[in-house]
Symmetry: C2
Subunit: 351 residues, 2 copies
């Protein structure tokens, strides 16, 4: 062994030893991506769910959640989606979460060029760079999604999550490209933008198309009205309420609107995203203790959810392992056999 | 340059280059700690808040939150506490979060040795290993806390967070060592334990001491009653309600009890921890836009919170920087000067 190699091995050993003593807790990776459409470098943050690299199960596929303002929302969102997907109490399937980091936020998230006096100080004009959301949605659809779909095992079910201008962007995407995502989450969306242009756009959409495509989900949260007024931005509230009326009257979306008492514009995303995830995947949660008596309930529950969502959701192998173990531990022999067979049917082991 | 060194440099370059292209998103570190009290190796997970290593501000001190069942709660909890502490919408101060990973959970978290028939299958006896929580709380107080206090910049304000047996443990700690923590969070606590022994212990405590020490905080969450009954564990509900009555009648704690509709035992921690954090630090949130008109409100708000909590909370340097910037951007010159002076008083720069 030459001395250089010895030195190198030594450093390597040191590195891995200290790495073991103080192991990092890693929740994702930042990827650099050059966007031809936007002509700039972009950063996307990628989180894979807990079982993604679990080699004791068959390779699974996962729905993908695209979260705007990634630098603010990614870290809590991944903890939230993992917790909500935790066996045996799962309210949602395990998901891949993609955070999109901003460069020129206002430019990317607003649908039209518009300016406005600052609500805090009317001498200041805001939003000189705005109105290029069509480029940004093409970046998501034509560059980010193909990259994710190529490199990860994805199930063809996508959710778009945005707040404020991001909520405006989500609703605009639903109106202009409803086929791009399955579910849209708009937290306290800036529907006041450009003299409430989204309100007239929604009306036009519905006059032309009569209704939204089947099986689409929309969740809208709204921050506290009184708090909003304190924040000198009450036209926001009015626009969200106008939008709510139109969507509820039409009735073709799987839609939920929620007003959050005590949450302001900058805080509402957190509780709203929690509720939105449960709403988007409503019907996913099954009760493991009830299955002891009614094992067939599992298939029935998943069939119902899949019909509603327009994609096939199956009980995960991880969940079925937990169910089998639960039946075994509690000595429900017949139900145990039922679920062993069910699991082998869904996830046949290659001999 | 010899060839070994060249080879080593080359590998190092490769390592750091690929590290840049796919940078890991790290939220904490796992530390190994040998406990003399428990006579075993323990793992604690440590999360530092965003500004901990920000060298543009004076070194700050942070309250510490101890989270039981670390392997389940740490990842979402750190995202939650960071989001809630986000300037300028902060509901809570930035905190250090310590997750305690389990080894023998039932042994560590239960105050007495007790056994019980499985509610799912009465032929099975549960909890043969139980009743050693006094050792575990000593491990936290005499081993974990000194380690944290020595190695990190902490503010003397601590929160203990537990769920189920962890909630039982939190309440037992409040009764046996109320001085150990400032605030106690008990999510759907297992107060049914050992024929509701915690109910009689609470009564005994109050007969002896008349009331709890000043400025202590207790937050108790309760999962959905009907769901609980489906889960064959309704004595849990009854015990929590007995406890609630006693605490409310006594009235000496800063106390909140919350029943969560639609959340079951295994899911309630998430929304409850969010609400609990806001309750523990209630009064922390200040409205940056209001400060433009009433700058003195900031000191008044913090004084009120500090009085209630029994420790001095100060506006962070990061928040004051944001306030100054906001006043500058919106051309509130007088208020800007006020906050520059206020900041220099609290955080004098060493010349």
């Amino acid at each position: 062994m030459n001395s250089g190699f010895k030195f190198f091995s030594c450093i390597l050993l040191l590195f891995f030893t200290s790495g073991r003593a103080q192991e990092k807790i890693v929740i994702g990776e930042k990827h650099a991506l050059f966007s031809k459409i936007l002509n700039e470098n972009r950063e996307i943050w990628i989180h894979l769910p807990k079982t993604y690299n679990d080699h004791t199960i068959s390779p699974a596929k996962y729905p993908v959640i695209y979260v705007l303002d990634g630098e603010i929302n990614f870290e809590y969102y991944t903890g939230m989606s993992d917790f909500l997907a935790r066996t045996p109490y799962a309210d949602i399937p395990e998901c891949i979460v993609i955070g999109i980091k901003n460069t020129e936020r206002t430019r990317d998230l607003t649908p039209t060029k518009s300016q406005k006096k600052s609500p805090v100080n009317p001498n200041i004009m805001l939003f000189s760079e705005s109105g290029e959301s069509e480029n940004f949605v093409r970046f998501l659809q034509e560059e980010v999604k193909p990259f994710i779909n190529k490199n990860y095992r994805i199930q063809e079910y996508t959710v778009l999550v945005g707040h404020s201008f991001g909520g405006l962007f989500a609703i605009n995407t639903l109106l202009t490209h409803p086929e791009y995502f399955n579910a849209y989450v708009a937290n306290d969306p800036s529907l006041w933008w450009d003299n409430k242009i989204m309100i007239s756009k929604t009306k036009e959409y519905l006059e032309k198309n009569k209704e939204f495509p089947k099986k689409k989900v929309l969740y809208v949260s709204q921050a506290d009205n009184e708090e909003q007024q304190k924040n000198w931005n009450s036209d926001m509230t009015q626009a969200i309420e106008d939008f709510k009326k139109i969507i509820e009257q039409n009735g073709s979306l799987y839609y939920q609107h929620r007003f959050f008492v005590g949450e302001v514009h900058g805080t509402v995303s957190y509780p709203a995203n929690y509720e939105a995830l449960k709403f988007v995947f409503k019907g996913f949660r099954t009760d493991i203790k009830q299955l002891a008596k009614k094992p067939g309930q599992l298939e029935a529950d998943y069939r119902k959810l899949s019909d509603r969502a327009g994609t096939e959701f199956l009980p995960s192998e991880t969940y079925l392992n937990t169910v089998v173990k639960f039946m075994k531990n509690n000595d429900f022999k017949e139900t145990e056999t039922y679920f062993i067979n069910f699991k082998n049917k869904l996830y046949p082991k290659v001999k």
